[in-house]
Subunit: 203 residues, 2 copies
């Protein structure tokens, strides 16, 4: 399938084949593709928890307000964005420096810029966490579609409860749940989109 | 190219062929694909401003802190997420109801849920604006890559200045700039990513 077909045919699926399981390797392959998404200063300020055991699915279910897809889908990803990039940028960028892609001047410049932009700006830290996690989430959903799977992004969940139940750190913001698996029967067709003229202007 | 190849080869490009221009139809096609991204309750809480005229590029340049790519690239999208979904959900979901995809009970349930979740929660409104715009932005960047173009997401810009200079409404949050065009010489190769074991855990 072409990318255009993948984009056009992707829908948010509520119903899953509950007999389908995914291996750790299959799950890791999706995350490896998701992390090819861009992030500001290549911070890669994201983490993924793959909820796939029966026990963890049962733990997640009430925190997702009882939505059965988190149990029926092979895996539900808790996709987090991370805060406080001024504390992590030096390490995150080091491999890019070591690979010779950026030189020490740029490295130091970017590390300094991240201090200036984020350190005293918790709101911008949160924005960045949500941006980066969402870019990765979209890549993951398209990668799943390409493998013949379906997915659903979910924002209806108890964020504090998920953080507690799955041991998130203080700097991990659970941005989205994404279910992935084989489709079950009765999923909705693609929902209509607005006319382009309603959302696009030229300047 | 397969989706995996597109994802693996996409890089954030700083250098563009400044002689390359894109037609309104080509720009519209990218946005049409971007808006196939999912959004909570199918709110489609995003807008796009395609900055492609010389005058508008000159207006954007200082607000993007002089980064030359916003002038050299064929187009720079100002991708906005929109706030206050409780005011727009009825209209946004109506075509989904009219198409018979959801019934009146679900329609009314979702409209009510959006009131409850967002109306008195400006922070969650902002989160949603950033999430939806970012999902659309990632789809747009991959669609550009599929057309042999390159792109770069940018968060280094004066948000208030862009809002003022491009006439954004009170409910439009400029989440990201995304340059799109043909590559110029000297772009960086793909920057290395963390090991999967650093970002993925299983539960």
């Amino acid at each position: 399938m072409t990318l255009t077909d993948l984009i056009q045919t992707r829908t948010s699926a509520s119903n899953y084949d509950s007999s389908h399981q995914m291996s750790a390797a299959e799950i890791g392959e999706l995350v490896a593709l998701a992390t090819q998404a861009p992030s500001a200063f290549n911070l890669q300020n994201w983490t993924f928890i793959a909820v796939h055991s029966d026990e963890a699915k049962a733990r997640l279910l009430p925190l997702a307000f009882g939505q059965p897809k988190v149990v029926a889908a092979a895996v539900t990803f808790i996709i987090c964005g991370t805060l406080a990039p001024h504390l992590t940028v030096s390490a995150a960028l080091k491999p890019t420096l070591d690979a010779g892609i950026i030189d020490p001047t740029i490295y130091n410049g970017w590390v300094g810029a991240v201090q200036t932009m984020y350190r005293d700006n918790p709101s911008f830290q949160r924005d960045e966490a949500i941006r980066s996690a969402s870019l990765a989430a979209m890549t993951l959903m398209l990668a799943a579609q390409d493998k013949g799977l379906v997915s659903c992004p979910m924002i209806g969940f108890n964020q504090a409860g998920v953080a507690e139940a799955f041991g998130l750190t203080q700097t991990e913001v659970p941005v989205m749940l994404v279910t992935v698996g084989r489709p079950g029967p009765g999923n909705w067709p693609k929902k209509p989109r607005k006319q382009i003229s309603e959302v696009l202007t030229f300047a």
